[in-house]
């Protein structure tokens, strides 16, 4: 019934790099949309920099009296107890993107996720198919579980091919660090065929480093997430960025919409919604291009 | 600088009815005093009488609570020391005020660097600094970093710095406390020179003969009040002492029986403190007072610091017949050897802590009950120390840094004596101490010896060494160059040994 008073708390990571900025952007955007759509709905969006402060934020949301929690945890395993508490209080819980080791109905009602292993696997498969004997260098994110899942997925993707991984180092999802790591890779390896840097932000630094070194051996860079800049490059047929692997920050919006739906549309919502790690190519790029997004 | 004028002229500086209160304690009460051009006006008084406080008011460091200040007959109120300096009134502080990381020359010219435009001209400043120091009869490298200088050297740098400012009134607050006779003499000569140029000088010292020698007028403070002001010609040092202390100080040094040959407590052989002292050898007997004389930089302090484990050192030391090697003060204190630093501010006291904490710091073990420090007993110990050592302070709640210079010295003595050591090494025991208290400290040292303790006194004041010691060792350039005893204990012989210059009569050791 319209006008019903409902409060949805949204807890997401602070905008500490491009992708999370996208998350914040979409959460904000949809919060406004939803509140305009449903009279009695109040959506509170809170960002947190690390697991401990996110646990605090969840507690603070609970204190304010929420009916549902949409959470994209910075580090799921560390937030299980905090989420559990909300769930145990009988609130609706939608978990987004990052799943703890135990991910079932005891801890959440709804799970909306991108597919981290798939993000790695799609990239790996693409490289294995396009350049089966490529020598690849990898720039990782931060040492947290989702990063590890992507690495494992990648290894699975190249399984059976002759693709060879030369090196993996952390670039901390930062452009500056990726630039530094790439410069050193270029020094270290006389021949590199492909760079997999799993993130569009880091790709910015990688491309600059390659351009500066004027190296021609690098055939292409595979990034990921689906930022507007990288999608644009794919659309324009940039040889260095032939594809991008989708990992849409808008998934938080999906979760929020589904959650609101569970209160206002009388549709029972539960279960898992796994978004594909779609491979964006020149052919389909147009449909993933959002020029207004900050990301 | 202005030309000399006669004494009937308007005083350069005229203080009228100055009073100063810190918190609830009134440390100066209604003091009036003048400085005329070309005169040296000495201010004397016991420790804590308020001399330094008065000088700080005159030089703009403190604001008086009441009273006024006239410069050339004009009422004046200084906003700070820099303002006073602009009017030609400069102060050589009792405490060292130098930037430890800068060189001697940089300190001397700090705040008024020479140079073109924004740049500094280090060469010229180094020359100027070297000259200023030479004028004081000293020899210090203008490029030396101040933190590496001895206290005496720092004091000289400080004097040089102040004398380079254009000045009309120069205030010296115990400038000679850490100087040896040679430097003192050079300084007195400098003072005579500037007096001749019509500069007014205020001079504080506890060395009364010095006051007699240099001053035209003497003003005596007691408990923050002005008790007397006389032409110097009317006063002998003994009179001054009486005015200061309020009683006769007839005999400064206690009677002592020449020590009989008793067992040796401390035996030092082939002792090296790398860079400072070489091949030192001496023996200290029970109940003996052994003096160490020498010039500044002779290495006496460093030798003692090496002995108690404050510096790396090697050599044979036997204590009570057993070989010992102290690697830190903890071990030497435990054995019963205590060392009192000459640098009371830097190494002796925690200036920002109260008297109680300072007093018991080295001997906290004695004040433990269960797991806790027994604060009541600490308080009692403080009361006793204040009584025994006559520490003058308006309130016991004061911080150590707020005590007058001489009272800090007494607190340091009290602190180390709480340890009840068998051997006491006292470095410059009476630096900055007034004559009445000196007498007490000497008596105290003598009584320690009478109790069977052994004492080493390192001092730059030869009369004091001669007055209280059984024997005196003389150091020069890091070596013990001789020993004087009995009737050989004269300033002349000691100076010869210390400088290595045979200035005539008897050649010693």
């Amino acid at each position: 019934q319209e006008g019903k008073k409902v409060t949805i708390g949204v807890s997401i990571p602070a905008a500490d790099h491009g992708w999370t900025a996208g998350v914040v952007y979409h959460a904000e955007r949809v919060a406004k949309l939803l509140m305009a759509e449903h009279k009695g709905l109040n959506v509170i969006v809170k960002t947190s920099a690390d697991p401990a402060s996110q646990a605090n934020a969840v507690q603070d949301l609970a204190v304010q009296g929420i009916d549902a929690l949409v959470i994209l945890p910075t580090d799921p395993d560390q937030l299980v107890s905090a989420i559990q508490q909300v769930k145990d209080d009988g609130k609706f819980v939608a978990l987004v993107d990052r799943a703890p080791s135990v991910n079932d109905n005891t801890i959440r009602n709804l799970y909306v996720a991108g597919n981290n292993p798939a993000l790695g696997e799609v990239a790996g498969k693409y490289i294995a198919e396009t350049t089966p004997e490529a020598e690849v260098v990898i720039i990782r994110g931060l040492p947290i579980p989702i990063d590890q899942q992507r690495q494992d997925g990648f290894d699975k993707g190249i399984e059976g091919s002759k693709v060879k991984v030369l090196d993996r180092q952390y670039g901390n999802w930062s452009r500056d660090d990726a630039f530094r790591v790439m410069q050193d890779y270029l020094t270290k390896y006389p021949k590199i065929d492909v760079v997999w840097c799993q993130d569009d932000d880091m790709a910015v630094g990688v491309l600059e480093a390659i351009e500066q070194a004027k190296r021609t051996d690098i055939q292409y860079v595979v990034a990921g997430a689906g930022s507007k800049d990288m999608i644009k490059r794919v659309m324009d047929g940039d040889k260095m960025i032939p594809v991008d692997v989708l990992y849409p920050p808008a998934m938080v919006a999906t979760a929020m919409q589904l959650t609101a739906g569970s209160f206002y549309d009388q549709v029972p919502v539960s279960g898992e919604y796994i978004l594909d790690a779609t491979l964006v190519t020149k052919d389909n790029a147009e449909s993933f291009y959002f020029p207004d997004s900050p990301f | 600088m202005i030309a000399a004028s006669n004494s009937s002229a308007v005083p350069l500086l005229d203080a009228r009815g100055l009073s100063k209160t810190f918190g609830i304690v009134e440390v100066l009460k209604d003091i009036s005093l003048t400085v005329r051009p070309g005169e040296v006006h000495a201010i004397i008084g016991e420790n804590g009488a308020g001399k330094s406080t008065l000088m700080k008011i005159l030089a703009g460091n403190h604001q008086p609570t009441r009273g006024e200040l006239l410069i050339d007959g004009q009422p004046m109120s200084f906003s700070g020391p820099v303002d006073a300096e602009k009017h030609g009134i400069v102060l050589v502080h009792q405490e060292i005020l130098l930037a430890p990381d800068l060189t001697v020359a940089q300190n001397i010219y700090l705040g008024r660097e020479l140079g073109k435009g924004l740049t500094v001209d280090d060469r010229t400043m180094n020359e100027g600094a070297a000259k200023a120091i030479r004028d004081l009869g000293a020899d210090i490298d203008p490029n030396a970093i101040v933190s590496r200088l001895s206290i005496a050297q720092r004091q000289l740098v400080q004097i040089a710095r102040v004398l380079l400012v254009p000045h009309r009134v120069v205030i010296f607050d115990e400038p000679t406390a850490s100087l040896t006779p040679h430097e003192t003499e050079a300084l007195l000569k400098v003072i005579t020179d500037i007096r001749a140029k019509g500069v007014g000088v205020l001079y504080i010292s506890h060395r009364l003969p010095e006051v007699k020698e240099i001053a035209d007028r003497v003003t005596v403070l007691r408990d923050g009040r002005l008790v007397a002001s006389h032409e110097t010609t009317e006063l002998e040092p003994a009179d001054m002492a009486r005015l200061m202390v309020g009683r006769d100080v007839a005999k400064l040094y206690p009677d002592r029986h020449a020590a009989e040959a008793r067992e040796t407590v401390l035996e030092v052989e082939g002792f090296d403190v790398p860079g400072y002292a070489r091949d030192a050898a001496f023996a200290l007997r029970k109940g003996e007072i052994l003096g160490f004389a020498g010039l500044i930089g002779a290495g006496r302090t460093e030798l003692m610091e090496g002995l108690v484990g404050l510096r790396t050192a090697k050599g044979n030391v036997r204590f009570n017949g057993r070989p010992v090697h102290f690697t830190d003060v903890h071990s030497s204190l435990k054995a019963g050897v205590a060392y009192l630093s000459e640098d009371r501010k830097g190494k002796g006291l925690l200036l920002t802590k109260d008297l109680r904490v300072n007093l018991t710091l080295a001997s906290l073990g004695k004040f433990i009950r269960g797991l806790q420090i027994d604060r009541k007993r600490e308080g009692e110990a403080l009361d006793k120390a204040i009584r025994d050592f006559d520490i003058r302070t308006g309130t016991k709640e004061i911080l150590a840094g707020q005590l007058s210079g001489g009272n800090q010295q007494k607190l340091l003595l009290a602190k180390m004596m709480l340890l009840d050591p068998q051997v006491v090494i006292i470095d410059e025991p009476t630096r900055g101490i007034d004559i009445g208290n000196k007498e007490q400290i000497y008596k105290f040292i003598a009584s320690l010896a009478a109790e069977g303790r052994s004492i080493i006194v390192v001092s730059s004041e030869m009369p004091e060494l001669i007055g209280i010691c059984d024997r005196i060792l003389v150091m020069r350039g890091g070596r013990i160059v001789g020993e004087v005893q009995g009737e050989h204990m004269t300033e002349n012989e000691i100076v010869q040994l210390a400088t290595g210059v045979n200035a005539g009569s008897g050649e010693a050791a």
Binding site: T47, S81 | K347
Partner: protein, 333 residues
Amino acid sequence: MNAAVTDTSKAPKTSKDWDMAAIAPFVALALLLVLGYFANPNFVSLANLTNVITRSAFIAIIALGATYVISSGGLDLSVGSMVAFVASLMIMFMNSGAIADPMMMLVAGMLVALALGAACGLANGLITTVGKIEPFIATLGTMGIYRGLTTWLSQGGSITLRDRELQQLYRPVYFGDVFGVPIPIIVIFVTAALAAFVLYRTRYGRHLIAVGSNEEVARYSGISVQRVRTIAYVVQGLCVAVAVLIYVPRLGSTSATTGILWELQAITAVVVGGTALRGGVGRIWGTVCGAFILEIVGNIMLLSNFVSEYLIGAIQGAIIIIAMLVQRTLMRK
């Protein structure tokens, strides 16, 4: 060295002044509470305040150790990484299944954590004192080391307490309460009382302050400066371990990002509490108050809905500066 010159031009700092300096953080805290009430009336609810104070426990307890290190004239930047390192090893130990009985295992795990904390602190202490390296650099180095080792132990992922039974047993240490007072709050106050006792009432505490106040004077008074400083770092390590003891039951897992920037928060709590970074003064209760202030500032930000989440950091920074200004103004009175 003769550098220390007291500014004697000011009135003597008698007990009165000290009291003002000690009270200032509490006044700032009170003002914050009022501010919080206006931001959101829920703020002053018992539930919220209990939550806030409970979760300030980690920083508060770590900051108690930092008070020791800082008043001795040192600094420890490694505490955040040390939390991650100690917690990871503790969980790995409890996952190892070396002891069958969960209760015994839990106790053993706690002891392991304490021993590890002390060992890490000892390492920091020895590097700064015996190695004579500026504490800033020494502990920046060990910060890298502890963090790196944690990353390596977790192989880039997270380390989670696996045994359900153990988890259930351990959980109340964070979530439980005694007569309605959450256990972490009790731990804060017990640790602080202990820390205050040692700092203000024992010989070691006196020596610590002496060392921080003037190293040379301490040395000349027969105090072993190196030993005193080293012990301060060990105390810091133990405090980290105590924080770990209540941290692990809360989230039940750690990763390479656990405790990031906690060192800054701990130091901030100490300074906001009135302890000067140059050493020689230590205010235990001020530190506890400082940790509360930090957590409350964050809480108010979260509860008030006026502030764009992008600006939270900016407002927090501004509030801390204002809190310090309030303190200074009070102290100068």
